[in-house]
């Protein structure tokens, strides 16, 4: 059964918009993780007792969704539309194959478990 993992690293301020957009297209299973990172986005400097610190690991939010393949394009588009600001730092989406999915409650497998 073809399943895909969608990992999206987005701006924390866009989390609500992305969640709403996904629920709107019928996707309501997701895992949300707080992360730090950066791509090409520069950080900022902070001052503590006269010492300058460059903070370049920026707070981001990572969403992980495992979807059946036919939903992936719609989900990716929904995420992009909700999360985009047009500026550097918007984030990235990665897709990968998932070998198996199992529901713990009743041991259902495959797409039925999603």
């Amino acid at each position: 059964m073809p399943m895909t993992k969608v990992e999206a690293v987005i701006q924390p301020s866009k989390l609500d918009a992305v969640k709403d957009a996904l629920i709107e297209i019928g996707i309501d299973g997701m895992t949300v993780i707080e992360v730090r990172g950066h791509g090409r986005q520069k950080g900022h400097t902070e001052f503590y007792r006269g010492r300058e610190y460059t903070v370049d690991l920026l707070p981001k939010v990572k969403l992980e969704l495992v979807l059946s393949d036919e939903l992936v394009d719609k989900a990716v588009q929904a995420i992009i539309n909700a999360a985009r600001t047009g500026k550097i730092g918007d984030g990235k989406i990665f897709l990968s194959r998932v070998d198996e999915a199992i529901r713990i409650r009743n041991e259902e497998r495959g797409v039925a478990a999603l």
């Binding site: 001052f47 503590y48 007792r49 006269g50 010492r51 460059t54 903070v55």
Partner: protein
């Protein structure tokens, strides 16, 4: 209304009522209610016969007035003692722990807290005696071993209105916070056992002599009790801040820098905690400075006001300097400024006017900011929490400025043989006082440097000072105390 002013008000009110009754019915009966609780605020029981003579009743009256004054002074001094302890726990504990990395938060608090326990025991056993007992110009004796003779009777050399035990416990709180201040210099890398041993020895061999010289009877630098080089140090600019600050510098240099300093970023893990600690320090400092008047009178008011004004001006000095240099005033800078101002006003509090306090505070804010932001980087020492930059430098500056701004109108500390007040400081026409201040400051510096260096060497030879690199990386909370400060992610919520 506070308990302090209420007790004083009751005492004064009863005195006035009694005086009126006495004057209006001299020779007749005086009937009044017996309060029944504290003897010191009790009103006289009624005279059963008209035969009790006026001079006996006057003597009773005088005793009650003295009792009322003692009540007010003792109430303020016990409150002040509590305020000064609050400065250590949690004031300093929070201020310092917020500045370190998360993995060292508990260890940093423990260092201050341990002083609350350990110094108390030392003080009771013999340290109070060494600091405030009579001995020679440099150290007291063991007359008050195990607090013998330290009871409810006042000792007029120190204060004639409060029990000596109150004075002892008040001074204890100073003895507690002084070594706790030093912990800022070696934060995040000193073994708990070594810290405890070091500070025990430091308290005995550096703090006790310095306290004795400035405040103890017969002390070389004691301005109130005829010391040879009377140093004006109202609440401990030299005794507390210079000694601890300079010792901090020695410690920071001897122990060496933290692993990764200065390349690795080590920002404070919680400026919020430091903020709370700093505010507690500011409020507690009223006990530290105004309580050093050892009475609840107008000198306490002067010291209270000067303390507050000094802190306020220093906030502006530090934050202003930061705003100019970095473009933004930081919260950490503002609270550090407050502490710097409080340090600098400490020796001056009971000697200077409010306006002078503003000047002292402003200068302290700017100077200490530069010490921390520029000078530290130039010399490259890792005084992790700026104990030297704030306390050493601020205390030295404050002690010098005290020699300039002290005026007899606030506190007639120097008197001629007829009892007339003499000029105190330079601006008033006594430039010589600056020399005395320098002597006191120099003695504090030398005692701190020599004493600290020797004690560090001894403790290092006995048990080693620094944690292993693995333990330093793991963090002191786990390696020294087997604990984590915040167990938020690991637990099941």
């Amino acid at each position: 209304m506070s308990k302090v002013s209420r007790l004083a008000e009751i005492g004064v009110y009863r005195f006035l009522v009694l005086t009126c009754l006495l004057l209006s019915s001299l020779g007749g009966e005086v009937r009044a209610q017996v309060s029944g609780n504290q003897p010191s605020s009790a009103v006289v029981a009624s005279a059963s016969s008209a035969a009790e003579n006026p001079s006996a009743r006057l003597a009773k009256l005088e005793a009650q007035v003295a009792d009322a004054k003692s009540s007010a002074d003792n109430a303020w001094m016990l409150t002040s003692s509590a305020l000064v302890l609050l400065m250590t726990g949690p004031g300093l504990a929070l201020f310092y722990c917020g500045l370190v990395r998360r993995k060292n938060v508990l260890a940093t608090m423990m260092q201050s807290f341990a002083m609350m326990a350990i110094i108390t025991v030392l003080w009771g056993l013999f340290s109070y005696s060494l600091a405030f007992g009579s001995g020679n110009s440099f150290i007291g004796g063991l007359h008050h071993l195990f607090l013998r003779g330290v009871g409810v009777q006042p000792d007029p050399d120190y204060s004639s209105t409060i029990p000596l035990q109150t004075f002892m416990v008040y001074q204890l709180m100073f003895a507690i916070i002084t070594p706790a201040l030093i912990t800022g210099a070696f934060a995040e890398r000193m073994k708990f056992s070594a810290m405890a041993l070091f500070l025990i020895l430091w308290s005995i061999f550096v703090y006790d002599p310095m306290a004795h010289m400035v405040w103890g009877k017969g002390g070389l630098l004691n301005a109130s009790l005829g010391g040879r080089f009377p140093t004006l140090d109202f609440a401990g600019g030299t005794v507390v801040h210079v000694t601890s600050g300079v010792s901090a510098l020695v410690c920071a240099t001897y122990l060496g820098k933290r692993l990764g300093y200065p390349k690795e970023a080590m920002p404070p893990h919680s400026v919020v905690l430091s903020f709370i600690g700093a505010c507690l320090l500011w409020v507690g400092w009223f006990g530290f400075n105004a309580g050093s008047a050892l009475a609840a009178g107008s000198l306490a008011t002067s010291a209270f006001v000067a303390t507050h004004f000094g802190a306020a001006a220093a906030v502006i000095g530090w934050a202003g300097a930061e705003w100019i240099r970095n473009g933004k005033p930081s919260a950490l800078g503002a609270i550090s400024g407050a502490v710097a101002g409080l340090v600098a006003i400490t020796p001056a509090a009971g000697f200077v006017s409010p306006m002078s306090a503003l000047v002292i505070g402003l200068l302290a804010g700017i100077v200490c900011y530069l010490m921390v932001a520029k000078v530290k980087a130039i010399f490259g020492y890792d005084d992790s929490l700026d104990a030297f930059g704030v306390h050493g430098a601020g205390g030295t500056l404050g002690a010098l400025l005290t020699g300039i701004f002290a005026v007899k109108a606030i506190n007639p500390i120097f008197k001629d043989s007829q009892g007339n007040a003499l000029p105190s400081g330079l601006l008033e026409g006594n430039p010589h006082q600056l020399v005395n201040q320098l002597v006191g400051i120099a003695i504090a510096w030398v005692l701190a440097i020599v004493g600290t260096f020797i004690i560090l060497k001894i403790v290092d030879a006995l048990i080693g000072l620094r944690v292993s690199p693995e333990h330093e990386i793991q963090g002191l909370d786990l390696s020294q105390h087997g604990e984590e400060g915040y167990y938020w992610e690991a637990s099941a919520l």
